[in-house]
């Protein structure tokens, strides 16, 4: 008997109970206590219509259709820690869907599921799916969703929930049910819905995908009612999946673009600042073309890989802001922080970094969508011209406008400026090499040595850095391909690194790239189980640990408080260190199925250990090298 049949019978029984005179028939002693007698077959019993058989199986369910929809959307993977509230669609993915596109990825924590999706999307340019309980799973996932929100990355979250209280199993299913599942993350997701029918699901599933993929991108949530997943679906039922068209990203207004071009061409010291600008592989080429056309210096803040690190116009390591007379900010989240400096002492203070009269132009889709509660939007920045548009989509028309505007005289100025900038960037690289040479043989290993040793092992591979920089990678390595770096967590929520690296490595796997993760120790301890996920699903990832045996950022904050109060300066490490005992990350990783070596304290041992790990990764497996490092 299916649910509708059950409900029909239940209501009939109820009606009968009301209609029937309330006369209780006394039960016979036999009926009260005796075992049921073996039925005596008779001609009447054999020829009578048998009672309705309870139907306990079905060939097709609502969640099968949901999988059809997810396939139509193009989700390649679903990351999930299993949960009974989405058991219906879990089974449909692996059986009805054949566990292919989407393929289920087994995760040990919902934060890992979402952070994997975060890293994956920044490489692949589209989201993967996440299944989670609407209650206990979402609470685990919330931090990672917040990071993705801050980082403007699409993650497609689907929550299981049992809305109908009369159908919940006693016990845990009540604790796992909620009236409004998405409410908890509504402040930091772009859209959510709780579909009440399968056609409703199809429309909302596509709407959610469109919204997630339209700049500014962000996570979305769909609540999958358990009844909707598990309801039998007749084989004759035909359900339609609407057409999916992803909106073209919003370009800047043509008159405003022309004005930006005019100002850029006229400026004597223009600086382009890019943060979460690069969404697609084409973005870097557009920015290079713009910068080279006007010979402007470019600062890449690191939200994405926007510009080649060794390009002669890359002034990221120089004090270019102070000299600028025009700043063009592309998808810069904290523009105020770019043009001001902040001093964190007993009395907090700030001052402008720019000289008077410097013009500031902003192109960002961040101006198109903002929420109030969480304050990741940063301090209000004064600008002279603001384009509420996607910067990457706007760049081609800006390049064209600049080329139309530049005169021969201005082009000669550009050439002269470019030559000076090239000299400055070359000198900056030499300074970086010199600085890296200090404490070269120190133990613990310097972070510069760590990065140099790692660079020596990967530079001839098709590599991509999927997490961490140890401060030195952008200064010492040559990043010149758009996929070689994906930025950080966005929300500075620790615990992003390891799972985002695994998710990004999953995306790189199909391209045959060597995914490299500079893994900090405190971050790994949030949910190290994601290493098992990498081993289980044969996700090749090289993790080299920047292990400073502390939550070091916080350690420095507490030290500041100790100093400010002139007390306990030697006690600032309490509560922030990861010592006594030291964590043996190699053993942790080995226990989770990885090739792992360490802890390494002698810098001479770092290179050979990484070489062995690279060999393992090139065979298609994850590997980890634990290096005990200087703090920063």
């Amino acid at each position: 008997m299916n649910r509708r049949g059950f409900l029909k019978h239940a209501s009939l029984a109820g009606a009968a109970a009301i209609a029937t005179p309330a006369v209780a028939e006394p039960q016979s002693p036999a009926a009260r206590g005796a075992a049921p007698a073996t039925p005596i077959m008779s001609a009447a019993a054999e020829t009578a219509t048998p009672p309705e058989a309870e139907i306990l199986t079905t060939d097709r369910t609502g969640s099968d259709f949901m999988v059809d929809v997810l396939k139509a959307i193009g989700l390649d993977y679903i990351c999930a820690n299993p949960g009974s509230s989405f058991r219906g669609i879990h089974e449909s993915v692996i059986n009805y869907g054949g566990n292919e596109r989407p393929e289920l990825i087994t995760c040990c924590h919902e934060e890992s599921s979402v952070a994997m999706g975060h890293g994956y999307a920044k490489v692949e340019g589209k989201p993967l799916g996440v299944f989670a309980h609407g209650t206990v799973g979402l609470q685990h996932a919330a931090m990672a969703i917040y990071n993705a929100w801050c980082d403007r990355v699409p993650v497609y979250v689907m929550l299981g929930n049992q809305l109908d209280a009369t159908l919940r199993r006693p016990g845990a299913e009540w604790a796992h049910s909620v009236q409004d599942a998405a409410a908890m993350v509504r402040d930091f997701t772009k859209w959510d819905d709780t579909p009440m029918s399968l056609p409703h699901f199809a429309e909302s599933a596509l709407r959610a995908y469109k919204i997630a993929m339209t700049p500014p991108m962000a996570p979305v949530v769909l609540v999958l009612n358990a009844e909707l997943q598990e309801q039998p679906l007749g084989t004759d039922v035909r359900l339609a999946i609407p057409k999916l068209a992803i909106p073209a990203p919003p370009e800047g207004d043509s008159r405003a673009v022309a004005e930006v071009a005019r100002l850029l061409v006229a400026a004597e010291h223009p600086v382009i600042v890019a943060d979460r600008y690069a969404r697609t592989p084409a973005a870097m080429a557009h920015l290079v073309e713009l910068a080279e056309t006007v010979q402007a210096g470019v600062i890449s803040l690191g939200g994405r890989l926007n510009f080649p690190t060794r390009h002669p116009l890359n002034v990221s390591q120089a004090r270019a802001i102070a000299d600028a007379d025009l700043i063009l900010a592309l998808e810069v989240n904290d523009l105020w922080g770019v043009v001001n400096t902040f001093r964190d002492q007993l009395h907090r203070s700030s001052r402008p970094l720019t000289r008077p009269g410097t013009k500031v132009i902003s192109i960002t889709s961040g101006d198109l969508y903002l929420k109030a509660n969480y304050q990741d939007f940063q301090r209000f920045a004064e600008v002279d011209l603001a384009l509420a548009a996607d910067a990457e989509a706007t760049l081609p028309s800006l390049v064209d406008a600049v080329k139309r505007t530049a005169t021969a005289d201005r082009r000669r100025v550009f050439e002269s400026r470019g030559a000076k900038l090239a000299e400055a960037t070359s000198a900056a690289l030499d300074r970086a090499r010199l600085e890296a040479s200090y404490a070269w043989d120190a133990s613990p290993v310097s972070t510069a040595r760590l990065c140099a040793e790692l660079w020596g092992q990967i530079r001839n591979e098709d590599w991509a850095l999927v997490n961490g920089t140890a401060g030195w990678a952008p200064r010492l390595w040559s990043f010149d391909k758009p996929y070689q770096f994906i930025g950080g967590s966005g929300g500075a929520g620790v615990g992003y690194g390891a799972p985002a690296a695994v998710g990004a490595a999953l995306a790189h796997k199909r391209h045959g790239r060597l995914a490299v993760n500079i893994q900090t120790d405190g971050d790994l301890m949030y949910a190290p189980g994601v290493l098992w996920t990498a081993a289980h699903h044969r996700i090749p990832l090289l993790s080299v640990m920047h292990n400073n045996r502390a939550y070091h950022q916080e350690l420095m904050h507490v030290q500041k408080m100790c100093n400010r109060h002139s007390r306990g300066v030697d006690r600032g490490r309490i509560g922030s260190e990861l010592v006594d005992p030291f964590i043996d990350y190699a053993k942790v990783a080995q226990g989770l199925g990885l090739h792992a070596e360490g802890p390494i304290t002698d810098p001479k041992d770092v290179g050979p250990a990484i070489a062995r790990a690279v060999a393992t990764v090139k065979r298609g497996e994850p590997a980890l090298v634990d290096v005990v490092c200087q703090p920063r």
Binding site: R431, G471, C562
Partner: protein, 126 residues
């Protein structure tokens, strides 16, 4: 994790510091004016009082703090900066680090080895 943004800020800070370091000591504050210090004790103080947290154990600097070894500021400027930093560095009052403590730390910083010629480090080749 240290982001590229942090690296950028640190680079700017280091640039400032390098500029200061390369100044010639003024006649009134020659490096030789540093009082005698115990480098071994200074090393212990450098760790105990948390200096290593931003400047690393060798004083070679990093993403969070400037390089201060092996050629720190002239001693009086060094003390003045530690007592009243102009940037984000936490101040160290005489209550928590006496002048002799700073002299010992100073001796430790000056005892740090100078790096090898970069051209002799193949991993740092361009």
């Amino acid at each position: 994790m240290t982001s590229m943004r942090a690296a950028l800020v640190a680079a700017a800070a280091m640039t400032l510091t390098v500029a200061v370091h390369t100044q010639s000591p003024s006649p009134a504050q020659p490096a030789a004016a540093a009082p005698p210090g115990d480098a071994e004790r200074g090393k212990a103080l450098f760790v105990k009082n948390g200096c290593y947290q931003c400047h690393n154990y060798e004083g070679h600097g990093g993403a969070a703090g400037a390089r201060i070894a092996p050629n720190p500021l002239p001693f009086r400027a060094f003390v003045a900066y530690v007592r009243a930093p102009r940037g984000d560095m936490p101040p160290y009052t005489a209550t928590v680090m006496a002048e002799q403590d700073l002299a010992d730390v100073y001796a430790y910083l000056r005892s740090r080895p100078r790096p090898a010629d970069v051209s002799r480090i193949p991993l740092l080749a361009r």
